[in-house]
């Protein structure tokens, strides 16, 4: 995708489906994970999570706790994005708008 030289400027190209899927799953979940990490650790000090008889080693330092929290949120949000994408991609295509299918109870999304 990146390696071969193309005559066309790279921003103009259509991405292959797989690249689109990876981007659609990874990017929004990254944004959501960033916000979730901020909100979560504004209220929870990772050191308190580690303040236990058997603290998870990653929570021994605050930076480790923040990083672990961020990747946890990213993973969870990615799974959600992945399922949503799967449902959208595997759904029967929406019929075109403004045709007779409307009277068969197919609601327009607009």
């Amino acid at each position: 995708m990146f390696g071969a030289h193309r005559e066309e400027y790279s921003g103009k190209l259509r991405w292959p489906r797989l690249a689109q899927d990876v981007a659609i799953v990874a990017w929004p979940s990254f944004l959501v994970a960033s916000v979730a990490t901020m909100v979560c650790f504004a209220f929870i000090d990772p050191l308190l999570v580690g303040n236990d008889d058997y603290p998870p080693p990653a929570f021994a330092t605050r930076m480790g706790g923040y990083a672990l929290g961020f990747f946890f949120f990213w993973l969870v949000a990615s799974l959600s994005s992945l399922l949503s994408l799967y449902l959208v991609r595997t759904a029967r295509p929406e019929p075109p708008e403004n045709d007779e299918t409307a009277e068969h109870g197919v609601r327009s999304t607009e």
């Binding site: 030289h5 921003g11 103009k12 209220f43 330092t61 930076m63």
Partner: protein, 460 residues
């Protein structure tokens, strides 16, 4: 689609150089370059600004304190950050309603860093035709040097970007020392590489694909548009029917509009759309098509602005309205929120107190017939100056507060824990009761805070 040699109408209006997307000059492209310089300058310089012995802007995650110039934010002040995010979102709505995707074209980090990477690419590999020639050439010394040089420049710049990013969270001067000695901790190393790598891939390779496939704002911004929103648009009424024509001919006599169909606007578009088909969500409002079209209009002697910033109403020849319910509501909300934030930051309680009971003993019966409880009083000084604090207590008759010194010194933006002994006469309480402990700054009595604590006495 491949980019053809750019001749307008069979060489009559030949443009000298081949056009490469973005390699177009014009007033809006110069404006974008200035915006990129300013924004990147701000980003790379801010962590180096000192402020009273510390970094002016430092989000000190390990210490859970945010320093923003004179302001120090604590976890308790988190709602300021939420408030700020709401303001940022509303500002985006406001400017989108007013001026369309100005943010995308001039201020979005994705756009700005892509511009910078393109600039570095041109610096090493030359313009488009030189780049294409280089790509076709067999691998030799020059190709290795140029391709390697570009990668080196990109990687160095991306790493510097990652380093700067981490410098917002770790004191950047210390970090620079650690980097110079290859002694950064695992998390600093990781985040420098993570952010640097994201910059490299996003700006070096994905570029406008990010806008087309990944950006949510690109998809929902149309919800904030109305007929008075400034957009980049092709004046269809003036341009159509498009077509080539001989120089000096009156287009009306041929039944033609102003568009000479040179397709330059399509060629320079970094997202590959044809602006003449109307507003499309792929358009990142970079205005390259405006600059390209203006240049052509100048050449053929037509007035500029066939493609221009305008509103739907402007295109239809009806009056443009800047003031309309949508913008008035956004502007009012924005003003209120900003004023409210400013007020509450300047009027927030700059001190706080946290009281923890000493865990070792519930109480102590002293030989002088008093009961003593011990607390650890934590004084938070969020103010920019140091203060001396006095601690007083109330809530029980005959209550005496005892701690080291008449006052406690707490530095700016610091927490000081003070062991405090509270004594009451033996016969004044059985069981337990709540007491209040209050801290007051001796130089500014309005800096005060109190907290409740449980006092425990024997029940016999």
């Amino acid at each position: 689609m491949s980019v053809p040699e750019t001749d307008i109408d069979g060489g009559l209006y030949a443009v000298r150089q081949k056009i490469y997307p973005r390699e177009i000059d014009g007033r809006f492209q110069r404006l974008r370059t200035i915006a990129a310089w300013v924004l990147l300058g701000i980003f790379y310089v801010i962590p180096w600004i000192p402020w009273g012995g510390r970094q002016a802007v430092l989000f000190d995650l390990p210490a859970r304190k945010f320093h923003i110039f004179a302001l120090t934010l604590w976890p308790q002040d988190f709602y300021f950050l939420t408030w700020l995010l709401v303001i940022a979102a509303l500002a985006l709505f406001f400017f989108t309603a007013l001026a369309g995707r100005l943010f995308c074209g001039y201020a979005c980090p994705q756009t700005v860093w892509t511009e910078t990477f393109l600039w570095m690419e041109r610096l090493v590999e030359g313009n488009r035709s030189q780049q294409m020639k280089l790509a076709r050439a067999p691998w030799g010394t020059e190709k290795v040097l140029r391709k390697g040089g570009k990668q080196l420049l990109w990687i160095a710049f991306a790493l510097w970007t990652g380093f700067t990013f981490v410098g917002y969270f770790t004191p950047i001067r210390e970090l620079a020392g650690l980097v110079a000695n290859f002694a950064t901790g695992p998390w600093e190393t990781f985040w420098v590489l993570f952010y640097g790598g994201a910059t490299y891939v996003n700006a070096g390779f994905m570029r406008e694909q990010v806008c087309k496939y990944m950006c949510p704002y690109a998809r929902f911004q149309s919800a904030m548009f109305d007929n008075d929103t400034l957009i980049i648009t092709y004046d269809e009424r003036r341009g159509e029917p498009r077509g080539p024509r001989k120089k000096g001919i009156d287009p009306a006599s041929k039944g033609l509009g102003a568009c000479v169909d040179c397709t330059l606007c399509v060629q320079v578009c970094p997202t590959g759309i044809d602006i003449r088909q109307g507003l499309q969500y792929e358009c990142i409002a970079c205005a390259a098509c405006i600059d390209a079209c203006d240049e052509v209009m100048d050449k053929v002697g037509y007035p500029r602005g066939l493609i221009r910033y305008d509103t739907q109403h402007g295109l239809e020849g009806t009056p443009r309205r800047v003031l309309r319910p949508r913008t008035i509501v956004y502007a009012t909300l924005l003003t209120l929120l900003v004023a409210g934030l400013a007020w509450s930051i300047t009027h927030r309680n700059a001190v706080g107190v946290d009281i923890l009971r000493d865990r070792n003993a519930l109480f102590r019966e002293r030989p002088d017939d008093t009961i003593e409880n011990v607390y650890n009083v934590k004084i938070l000084n969020k103010d920019g100056d140091a203060h001396e604090f006095r601690i007083t207590g109330s809530g029980l008759p005959g209550l005496v507060v005892d701690y080291a010194g008449p006052t406690v010194w707490v530095g700016p933006g610091a927490v000081q824990g003070v062991p405090v002994r509270v004594r009451i006469p033996e016969d004044s309480l059985e069981g337990g009761a709540d007491i209040d402990l209050t801290i007051v700054a001796t130089d500014r009595p309005e800096l005060t805070a109190s907290g409740k604590a449980r006092f425990i006495a024997p029940t016999d």
